[in-house]
Symmetry: C2
Amino acid sequence: MEIADWRKKIDELDEQIVALLSARAAAAVAIGQLKSKTAAPIYEPQREQIVFDHVREANPGPLSGAQLQDVYERIMDVMRALQRPVSNTDSK
Amino acid sequence: MEIADWRKKIDELDEQIVALLSARAAAAVAIGQLKSKTAAPIYEPQREQIVFDHVREANPGPLSGAQLQDVYERIMDVMRALQRPVSNTDSK
């Protein structure tokens, strides 16, 4: 396969990744709404550690565990922002 | 659905996201090997912009385009590191 073929494959993978990240974000919004009803904290480091451990266990490579966690730290940052009502007015 | 139910759903989504990110990483490694044969640069800002535009177009929400791009900037950072031979000895 040439570079162009691999990039076509990457573009297809990205469409699937975006769909899954969006489903994950919708679930985070739902959790945020449930948390706001009980005044539960948005940031729960114990839960975030469970997520990191889970994705590291599921990791088949070639990304290292640290690299995968780097990606997930950004995902969790963004999901946390989405759970904060003020972030919904952020139009950047 | 309760928070625990949403978290179970998130864990299932994460397993799929990890599988797709790993397939994407494997494609990036293949591209890196092709690039090394032709001494092509690892960092290609034009291609990265195409990726950002593509994922923003595919984005159904609730993440904003900027939030999705934040996640993808981290993904691209990690994939670029994976294409550099020296990063393969990084055991962190």
